[in-house]
């Protein structure tokens, strides 16, 4: 196989990996605040993207507006879900919240099917489809666009978490909720902010990936690979989520070149098992430690 073809495969792997990474980040944001997994992350992404698409289909607005609509819808959805469903269950065990989000994912998928049918819709892309040629290497703008936009978003999140009060408060809550309360941080407000932020990151990932995998009620399944990416990187770690996502995307794309192509969909799980055998805490994970 030529180097050029290899570069092509790796770049498109990084593009898918960026989406996995964004999904992983969304899951980690919610996990760090509320110590629970949000199984509905993918469906929240799907619904927000559909809302944006509906506006696009009705009014033919520019894509930037579609994205903004999806973001606002996602923020609203995240806020409402946290306030109405999660906030009251948080006092009980994390398992209750887990089951609630699992149920929510099924409800959202059915509701989306009822509203928008279970068909696949082509979604407009920010990026053209004329390949960019760099010497022997041909790259698809979609891949580069997804990678660039995702990296930009990740940088924005990094700035939020390290340089703003809200971000610092979120990280403080992740480390020690009681101490965070003693600092005058409203932990409840951090819960809200975490759900809104995770939902918004998901919506942006949705708008980026929808042109590639088509818009459909099933597109939320991408969150499963996001979850695997988060575990790969070491669950709870943001840089880990990015590394895990990229790693998974590239391996998933490379594997069919060397292995039977039918294996592609089991690759994420094989990678997960392999890495967890070598490093049980994930690539950037810390050794397991229980918080009291």
């Amino acid at each position: 196989m030529t180097t050029a073809a290899l570069v092509h495969v790796v770049v498109s792997g990084l593009a898918t990996g960026s989406i996995y990474a964004l999904m992983a980040i969304s899951l980690v944001i919610i996990f760090n605040a509320t110590r629970t997994l949000n199984f509905a992350q993918g469906e929240m992404l799907m619904v927000s993207t559909f809302v944006g698409f509906t506006v696009y289909a009705r009014a033919k607005v520019p894509l930037v507006v579609v994205m903004l609509v999806a973001v606002v819808a996602a923020a609203l959805l995240g806020w409402v879900i946290e306030r109405v469903l999660i906030r009251h269950a948080i006092a009980s065990t994390p398992f209750d919240v887990l089951i609630i989000t699992l149920g929510l994912s099924l409800v959202l998928r059915s509701a989306a099917g009822l509203t928008w049918t279970h068909d696949e819709f082509p979604f407009p892309s920010f990026f053209g489809d004329r390949p960019i040629t760099l010497g022997p290497v041909r790259l698809v703008p979609v891949s580069l666009g997804i990678i660039g936009a995702s990296l930009g978003l990740m940088w924005g999140l990094w700035a939020l978490f390290t340089h703003t009060r809200l971000g610092r408060a979120m990280r403080a809550v992740a480390q020690n909720q009681r101490a965070a309360r003693l600092m005058g941080i409203s932990v409840e407000r951090v819960y809200s902010a975490s759900w809104v932020l995770a939902s918004v990151v998901g919506a942006l990932a949705g708008v980026l990936i929808a042109p590639v995998i088509f818009l459909s009620s099933k597109m939320g399944l991408v969150a499963i690979n996001g979850f695997i990416a988060a575990v790969l990187g070491g669950f709870g770690s943001m840089p880990g989520a990015v590394v895990g996502g990229m790693l998974l995307g590239v391996i998933e794309n490379l594997a069919p070149l060397y292995l039977p192509s039918s294996i592609k969909h089991s690759v994420p799980f094989l990678v997960l098992i392999a890495i967890l055998l070598i490093r049980p805490g994930g690539v950037l994970g810390r050794p397991a430690r229980r918080k009291v």
Partner: protein, 243 residues
């Protein structure tokens, strides 16, 4: 002028277990009051109820005359109560500077730099360790950081839970000197301390808790003479058999 803190008939339950049952105490303006008692006598729980971490089942808590009994913890911090918890609970994955910044969460943005300078002025050792992760500090440094972090909001009441726990004698002396200095700036202190002798030397008055009740109260001179206190906490008054 209302006293800094008035606790009336406070009761706190953990499930069905009574942790605090009918505790009343007062901290006057600028006073140091110590709370003595064995492990599990309800000292920490009393502090947690005051700072809003646990909800009292009964009783009233007044801060500067205002009822804060069921106020959320963040409102109580904003009102001017700082709580340095048992075991310091610094944010281990934050740098020293980030710990202080998060301590200033409720502080107006323009004042944060000034408060940071104040913290470094009180604890110069933290200045040189600004960029170090708090989890890598020694116990004494973590205690200083925990106190400095609580002072970022300029509280008028400081709740200190076992500040000398696990520290070498020299370091705990330094911590106690610092508490005196903080108090000299007008901050009232409610001090929970295992080392009763030292606590009584520092405080003006004290309360002794046993299984959630106040069993003795008075000035430190009086408590020092109290036979129960002498026996239980100062190791005096009763011959003790060598182990």
């Amino acid at each position: 002028m209302a006293p800094t803190l008035v606790v009336e008939d406070l009761a706190v339950y953990y499930g069905k277990r009574r942790a605090v049952d009918g505790v009343s105490l007062t901290v006057g303006r600028g006073e140091i009051v110590s709370l003595l008692g064995a492990n599990g006598s309800g000292k920490s729980t009393t502090l947690r109820a005051i700072s809003g971490l646990v909800r009292p089942a009964r009783g009233r808590i007044l801060y500067e005359g205002r009822d804060i009994t069921c106020a959320p913890a963040d409102a109580i911090v904003a009102a001017g109560v700082g709580h340095v918890p048992e075991g310091r609970e610094v944010f281990a994955e934050f740098t020293v500077r980030e710990n202080l910044l998060v301590g200033g969460h409720t502080v107006p943005r323009n004042d944060v730099t000034e408060r940071l300078e104040g913290a470094f002025g009180l604890f110069p050792v933290l200045y040189g360790r600004q960029r170090q992760l708090a989890g890598t500090l020694s116990g004494g440094e973590q205690q200083m950081l925990a106190i400095a972090r609580a002072l970022m909001t300029r509280p008028r009441l400081l709740l200190l839970d076992e500040p000398s726990l696990g520290l070498a004698p020299m370091l705990s002396r330094e911590i106690f000197r610092t508490i005196r200095r903080i108090n000299a700036t007008g901050v009232a202190v409610l001090l929970v301390e295992q080392n009763a002798r030292r606590a009584l030397r520092l405080a003006g008055r004290g309360y002794v808790l046993e299984t959630g009740h106040v069993v003795a109260a008075g000035t430190c001179g009086e408590l020092g003479e109290d036979s129960r206190v002498r026996a239980a906490y100062l190791g005096l008054g009763k011959p003790t058999r060598a182990p």
